[in-house]
Symmetry: C2
Subunit: 783 residues, 2 copies
């Protein structure tokens, strides 16, 4: 693999049998508009998709046996009109890679340029050859804009009749999916046409949804560079804009079409169809005037700036270097720094999980973006804050206090259809509080804290204060909930949840005391604060003295074991082959849970407890969730099991690129991708932020020679480089007098803009043999 390959992902004709997966891998997004990496011609496809952040339909949800407060409606992501389509006919035959002869077919996702390039040489069934090149981008600086440049040349020494149709298509047919509970439900023909306004090579469509009452508008403007003799035409219906170019292309001639699209969506009652049409038309026209080359240059410049902070350099494992850059790229393009938007579990890369936002955002994605693009974290948390009214309503419906944020949602209301692993996973509320505290710790953004963060902390603290239960012995219990591990449900005193509740309560208390006027305006008084502190201090953490380990939840270590030795590869993921009845009552763990608690709250455990707990749960965790590997890698690294950590790191980084879960076609698992960065930076870098002090306890795995990464801390860009010679800390952009205080292996270090600081890597005590994983479930060996 050449060095350059680590900055790009290539797929060729041999990958046509995994189109769905490639569409996800090649998805482009700017956090507002997302285009899956479909072929220009639209066919063949895995699952076409053009998404706008938050654009969805609502559908009725029914239960064989209904129950009180079971959500009766669910949000589901739907495609906006597809403006990426450019179809080609060659001497009357449609370009379709399933027909004729594909001489060359290569698509490349350029991680620095932020574009997908395509080159295809195709011989039609009748023997006419053409070369098609295209470049597609979704503009990072211009939120509404996506664009394609499309070129056709003849390959033969004779002219060929060419027809190009550039379409915008609403209500594009999408295939049914009925395979497993993780797939999206499909809404057919969800868009009702409101306006179509053709204007030569320009045009705009406005549609609306029925139940969610959202309006979507898309405008396109075409620039053409045509050989003489070509004719053009336009043809429009309420669901389709079409611009057609027809003519004869002689050898050496080239047809070039550039298409600028702009998307907006808004609530139906927020304006008129004409207003929205005018807005997107202006945006598309502006992009047209600016020009494709200028868009490309801006895209590159934006990404260059982002990569300055975001790149993780790994010397010695180019495949993993590529995978980590791929992972980070998708995180960088998933969110917006300029609006109050969140990031769904699959971003805008697919319709898996119905396009829902889950705890993945606050628990996996924001802990990365807080350090790379803190504005995205702020926006996502402001999005939660904007949905506090729905969270308060949900709490009231559930007869709870404070706010109860949804387990799954797009529009802010609970959409989960299986409450034991949905509504009962109340920890999402503490996860949001944790993300608030982390963001403020890393940025010092006091304005956000006062405006937004405090209220989120207070309302979630109120949930726990009301929900928790004081036992006679003075302990505070959180019972009947579901923790991170989805192979358990409705448990008592899940350690992860309880520790996060502790943090939530203490964070709310600290911040309320720090902002007494704002707190008073929220009705917080000293008695409430002291109640939070008392509960936080008394949170119960179940511990098995006999086995010397914490219990993931009360009684866990006394449950029957799972017969891992009897499992084959075909038995995984277990949830598709075993009933919850068996999974829930046994010691089988889908994903890091107690291990996640040790990652998030490292100060709550001694080193010995961590070692014993890690070994115990490593042996029982099957990683049927893509969320798991990154967290396990962090603890494995901390405990000195560096080979295991490295292999888990690789599993996280390769999850989608190698489609390890066989689900990448539904969209990328952003939390797994975040896990790659987390494994590198929290794992090998040893980053911890739970005490408010930036701390590193680095380890360099044997497999690589150098690991370098950056992160933003209170506006500064800190660069960390690990080699065998030590850990180097520097502030490349800072004035000489700027300082950042941090800890290296427990010792205070002050880095200044004037000089880098280098410290030897800490000696890791021999951790003993690698703790066994469940039979057949150790990650692939790479270290």
């Amino acid at each position: 693999m050449q060095t350059d390959e680590t900055w790009q992902i290539r797929r060729t004709a041999t990958d046509l049998d995994r189109l769905g997966e490639t569409e996800s891998v090649f998805a482009l997004s700017n956090g507002w508009v997302g285009w899956r990496g479909t072929l220009d011609e639209g066919q063949p496809y895995g699952m076409p998709g053009s998404y706008l952040n938050g654009f969805h339909e609502r559908r009725r949800q029914s239960y064989p046996e209904d129950g009180y407060a079971f959500p009766q409606e669910s949000d589901t992501v739907i495609s906006a009109p597809n403006a990426a389509l450019i179809r080609l006919w060659v001497a009357g035959e449609p370009l379709d890679l399933r027909t004729g002869t594909v001489r060359v077919h290569e698509r490349t996702l350029d991680l620095r340029a932020g574009v997908v390039r395509r080159c295809t040489e195709w011989i039609s069934p009748a023997g006419h050859g053409v070369r098609v090149r295209s470049t597609r981008l979704v503009s990072l600086p211009r939120h509404a804009v996506a664009a394609v440049r499309y070129e056709v040349e003849p390959l033969d020494d004779r002219p060929v009749e060419i027809r190009v149709c550039s379409d915008v298509l609403a209500n594009e047919r999408v295939p049914e999916r009925a395979d497993d509970p993780r797939a999206a439900s499909v809404v057919h023909d969800p868009l009702d046409a409101e306006l179509h306004r053709p204007d030569g090579h320009r045009g705009v469509l406005v549609h609306r949804t029925d139940r969610s009452a959202q309006r979507v508008a898309v405008a396109v403007t075409h620039a053409t560079d045509l050989p003489a003799g070509f004719t053009d035409g336009d043809d429009h219906t309420p669901d389709r804009l079409r611009t057609t170019l027809e003519g004869r292309l002689a050898p050496g001639q080239r047809l070039r079409l550039t298409k600028y699209a702009a998307y907006e969506c808004a609530p139906v009652d927020g304006g008129t169809p004409d207003e929205l049409a005018d807005l997107v038309t202006a945006e598309a026209d502006a992009a047209h005037r600016y020009g494709f080359d200028a868009l490309l240059a801006d895209q590159r410049a934006t990404l260059d700036e982002r990569w300055r902070t975001a790149d993780v350099e790994i010397d010695g494992d180019p495949e993993l270097q590529q995978a980590v850059r791929f992972s980070v790229f998708h995180l960088l393009q998933a969110g917006r720094v300029d609006g109050d938007r969140t990031i769904a579990a699959k971003g805008l890369t697919g319709n898996g999980y119905d396009g829902h936002v889950l705890w993945d955002t606050e628990s996996y994605v924001l802990p990365v973006l807080t350090y790379l693009l803190p504005g995205v974290a702020r926006g996502a948390l402001r999005w939660r804050h904007a949905h506090l009214p729905q969270a308060r309503e949900r709490a009231a419906e559930l007869r709870l206090t404070g706010a109860t944020f949804p387990w799954r949602t797009i529009g802010g209301r609970e959409c989960s259809g299986y409450w034991p692993a949905g509504t009962a996973a109340l920890h999402v509320n503490a996860d949001i509080a944790d993300a608030v505290l982390r963001y403020v710790t890393a940025t010092g953004d006091q304005e956000f804290l006062a405006d937004t963060g405090l209220e989120l902390l207070v309302e979630t603290a109120r949930l726990w204060a009301g929900y928790g239960h004081w036992s006679d012995d003075g302990a505070f219990h959180v019972t009947g909930i579901t923790g991170p591990d989805e192979y358990a449900a409705l448990v008592d005193d899940n350690v992860f949840t309880n520790l996060m509740v502790r943090r939530n309560l203490r964070g709310a208390a600290d911040v309320a005391e720090g902002h007494p006027e704002r707190a008073a305006a929220l009705g917080v008084d000293p008695a409430e604060i002291s109640g939070w502190r008392a509960a936080a201090d008394a949170v119960h953490l179940p511990y098995d003295r006999k086995r010397g380990v914490h219990q993931q939840a009360a009684g866990f270590t006394e449950q029957p074991e799972w017969d891992f030795a009897a499992m084959t590869d075909d038995d995984y993921p277990l949830l598709l082959h075993y009933p919850y009845l068996e999974l829930y009552r046994r010691q089988v763990v889908k994903q890091a849970d107690l291990v996640l608690a040790m990652q998030r709250c490292p100060g709550e455990f001694t080193a010995e407890e961590k070692a014993r707990n890690f070994a115990y749960y490593q042996a029982r965790t099957v990683r049927d969730s893509s969320l798991s590997a990154g967290s396990q890698a962090v603890l494995a690294a901390e405990l000195g099991h560096l080979d295991l950590a490295y292999d888990l790191f690789a599993e996280a980084a390769l999850h989608d690129l190698a489609d390890l879960g066989d689900k990448t076609s539904d969209g990328l698992h952003l939390a797994a991708l975040a896990g790659a960065w987390t494994a590198a930076v929290e794992g090998f870098g040893g980053l911890r932020d739970d005490t408010g002090v930036l701390s590193f306890d680095p380890r360099l795995p044997a497999r690589i020679d150098r690991l370098a990464f950056h992160l933003r801390w209170h506006g500064q860009r800190l660069r960390v480089t690990l080699t065998r010679d030590g850990a180097r800390y520097e502030l490349p952009d800072a004035d000489p007098e700027t300082t950042v205080d941090l800890r290296h292996a427990g010792e205070p270090v002050t880095v200044t803009g004037a000089a880098a600081v280098t410290r030897p890597l800490p000696q890791v005590p021999d951790p003993g043999p690698e703790p066994p994983s469940p039979h057949g479930r150790r990650p692939a060996r790479r270290a």
Copy 2:
């Protein structure tokens, strides 16, 4: 209330606003055919229904979030063609009680005659008066036959034009129900016509279902007694047979129509439509030849014989006397003694719970019928046995051993759509085993035990042996299941379940040792038997030493309490106003659970434990399930809280007659009705059968002067009479040399056919003050 009123239920025109409830109360059934108590003219109705035992359609069942082994189809009861319809036009205006003037309208359910009689005097909007009388029966001795005698007379002193249409109608429209999780799902037009064969006033319809592949045939034959000048005609479609009588009825004249219907259903692949048509035609014709008066006489004779054993006599509370007879009547007509049929939770009285069979049958209904009509208990258990193949398949699907019987079913497969309160309620398997043991203990039916009972015991024992978990301290645990209380789910070591598992395992061991050859043929060897005994001995029963009570399930008494003081009547049933999230984790009990354990397994608790447990759980049990009152009454009576017991007894007996649960319109709650007998006989009679010896420990509540009941024990009819003077035991039908050994208040007593035995009522020690019920949930005071 006159004495006779205790043998009948009357409804008048004032009850027209509760038609659905009346249809259930007046439902007639013979365990094979069930007709709801609709008006002859079909309109107005609450929910029409003509049911055949086991006749159902299957429908797809989908989940917002699907899971492994979630049932993808569900059985749902559907109506057979309705042959009860007889419509009347008076001078061209249809008889409809919502129009014109209703001068008299009275319907009576005669509990001894087994018929519903109706008398209506109606003045049409145009002023024509008629008197309509009808008598309806569903023949107990002739399983296929139902019949109506219908008479019309003019009330005026002038002739009136009369038209009578007697219909058989398939795919009758039924109203939608979307109110709560307990209602039935409706399948529209479920019947496909296969054959309609008109033959004058006779006719037959044959239909089939689509997915369940069942065939249903109904034949009718009419006998008419018409004044001169009447014309008759017939008119048939594939979904409707119609016989029309038209003419002028002069003062003093009377039109009489008698309609004989016969029903059969069978699997589609079990024969041809013609064969089934011939069968029902022969059955209807035979009933016609036999005549309506003869059918009435047989009905009365059959019921007289059943009442000889079944009547419970209560002196001093005629309303309750009536309610108890009503309750017993519906039990007597719910099952068949001559076929391997079971009894659904609502029998054939309505489509609530989708017509499903639940644990109600083995746990509530069979414990009564075992003593009143043991053949019905045998048939129901043989029905379970016939579905062992599906239960073994289900166990394999769930990765369990032995057999796993469904929580809800009609055709034998699991239909439950909410697994935490369905599949997880594995106790149904032990409940079936318990019913086997009780039936054999009471009857001595060794042939059944060898043929049927042993295999049921063995396969359910195998479930527990594989499912249970041995902890390090040598205890046997049953974890992750749901017990009787549906306000808890997925608990560990539910005491009721564990004690029933103990009984199941020991019963299987005992019976296998008693039938070594049959056991060997089932693969049972001594090692398996000793494994069962070891597990039974080691079953864990969680006990709270501090509070001195058993825990309904592990940890129950440490859970947060429910704030009963904050509840109003509108908050009940709690499941419609509070989420499972709150219900499951708190000490709120829907229905007798630990109390049921004490009822079923009285020898497992000391008297002191019972008293403390009863007080503890009485304070936390809200009786949101109709199953509860009877069991609570039994324990209240045992402990000497006779007023409370009496009030609970009345609640069980009046549950449907007074529509206490507001759900009677969906069908009668047979388990609640059984609870009335149970409260009387197990509660005040003190009947216990868990040791294999028939035992009584009677108490006579202050409110009544005499309580008498009978039961069958090894073929003998034992009569028990309680008065202030003592308890009298006698064998009225027996030869002088016949003896029955029993216990009275713990002392052995031998009753012979020669002489009754009388013993003083035992002195009940002062139980102290009545244990409080949850705020506002004490049963209505009556004692």
